[in-house]
């Protein structure tokens, strides 16, 4: 093996490192769980990581890029570049099954896919309470603590909770 190959960790290993970097807003899930890392590739001795934003105004975007860079440098990656990819636009369908389970465990009901807003009336939703599991819930507001979430309330256990909107 030549020097360049030795200093180039395998792509699979880099994915596993990225899988350890938490989302700054919802630290229980990783950036890989969130589905925003779209590609990891070597271009010679330069590592290219392609990232797509969740929401265009998400304040976490800057922190996410910083964390990716810091995380990979800690593993000895010296030359890396982050590429922003807008299209195809991020969809919650890219949140992993593991990420969905972690969201629910954290108190956020994961997105019900296929219910994204579509210019019509409010899309009816069956959102179950992440605490007691009841299906008797009501929407309080289309926006919750962040743009990606809506605000719901359980009418059985009476607890308010966040629902991660399908987009």
């Amino acid at each position: 093996m030549d020097a360049a190959t030795i200093s180039r960790p395998a792509i699979a290993e880099i994915w596993s490192w990225l899988g350890e970097i938490p989302d700054p807003e919802i630290p229980v899930i990783s950036l890989v769980d969130l589905g925003i890392i779209r590609d990891v590739a070597w271009a010679g001795d330069l590592l290219e990581v392609t990232v797509t934003p969740t929401y265009s105004g998400c304040p976490a975007t800057g922190v996410i890029n910083f964390e990716i860079e810091r995380g990979l440098r800690e593993h000895g990656i010296e030359k890396l570049v982050l590429k922003r990819q807008l299209s195809p636009a991020w969809t919650t369908a890219w949140i992993s099954a593991e990420g969905r389970a972690k969201l629910r465990g954290y108190g956020i009901t994961p997105p019900v896919e296929g219910t994204a807003a579509c210019a019509g009336a409010l899309v009816p939703l069956e959102v179950s309470c992440p605490r007691c599991g009841s299906a008797k819930t009501e929407r309080i507001s289309q926006f919750g603590s962040t743009p990606c979430k809506a605000h719901f309330r359980c009418t059985d256990c009476l607890e308010p909770f966040d629902y991660f909107k399908s987009i």
């Binding site: 934003p53 929401y55 265009s56 105004g57 998400c58 304040p59 807008l86 299209s87 195809p88 636009a89 991020w90 969809t91 994204a116 807003a117 579509c118 210019a119 019509g120 009336a121 409010l122 899309v123 309080i140 507001s141 289309q142 926006f143 919750g144 603590s145 962040t146 743009p147 605000h151 909107k165 987009i167």
Partner: protein
């Protein structure tokens, strides 16, 4: 197709178009942010702030494209904080004062019902960068429209007080809606080169959505068709100057200040 994609004329058209899109998002986003901490209900305070956040994010994308296309080395921050009123290209609708919560909401709805079909049409733009921003933004704006339409119906078809306020808001804002569908020479050029749809082509979808929503809201569509106009060529109402005075204060007082 007209000039090749890389010609200076096309770049100038893309830059000017991106400015129009970005300025609408910036000014409406700023107006919404003025409600932060003052909304009638906590949930609505959060919703308005989140809508503002989406719009400011879209502003960064559009103004980023404007900077790239004009190629003068300016940044989105330069455009937002260092242009004067006559350099702004937003619709007069979005700079109108917030008024009460009903007027803020009605302004948002009348804008959203135009913004979404525009973005959907732009997803087919001949310029890949325009299409990509439109694809991203349209997903967020679909939620803006869902919320604003729902609240217009609930408040319009609500109490006598909320109904009267929503009707007053509609009557006040109506003359500012016609500008969305007017075309100038640039719009004609954009349509001819497949970069953006003809403004008038968006009117049927807007009228259909607005007609249906206002009927559900038991509100009466104003009969007057007079349209206030000028935003696209930098002729604004007096209100924009006050917005910029507040928004640009720091960069004007301390040029180049950064975090």
């Amino acid at each position: 197709m007209g000039a090749p994609a890389s010609s200076p004329a096309v770049s100038a058209a893309v830059a000017e178009f991106a400015l129009r899109m970005g300025d609408n998002c910036l000014i409406l986003g700023h107006r919404n942010s003025e409600w932060c901490g003052h909304s009638p209900a906590l949930e609505e305070d959060i919703a308005l702030a989140n809508t503002a956040l989406d719009l400011i994010g879209q502003t960064q994308l559009w103004l980023g494209l404007a900077c790239e296309a004009e190629g003068k080395g300016r940044t989105p921050d330069n455009l937002a904080f260092l242009r004067d009123v006559s350099g702004y290209r937003n619709l007069l609708l979005v700079e109108q004062p917030n008024g009460d919560f009903g007027r803020t909401l009605m302004r948002q709805y009348l804008f959203d019902a135009w913004h979404l079909p525009l973005l959907k049409a732009l997803m087919g733009s001949a310029d890949r960068r325009i299409a990509e921003i439109a694809e991203k933004a349209s997903k967020e704006v679909a939620y803006h429209l869902e919320r604003s339409a729902d609240l217009v119906v609930r408040l319009g078809d609500g109490t006598a007080e909320s109904h009267a306020r929503m009707q007053a808001a509609l009557d006040f804002l109506w003359p500012y809606t016609g500008e969305m569908f007017l075309a100038d020479a640039l719009d004609e050029e954009l349509a001819a080169t497949g970069l953006a749809p003809e403004p008038a082509s968006l009117k049927p979808a807007w009228q259909e959505h607005v007609g249906r929503t206002l009927a559900d809201a038991t509100l009466k569509v104003p009969e007057k068709s007079f349209a206030q106009k000028g935003g696209r060529r930098g002729v604004h109402s007096e209100h924009l100057g006050y917005i910029l005075a507040e928004m640009q204060f720091l960069q004007r007082a301390y040029p180049g200040a950064s975090w």
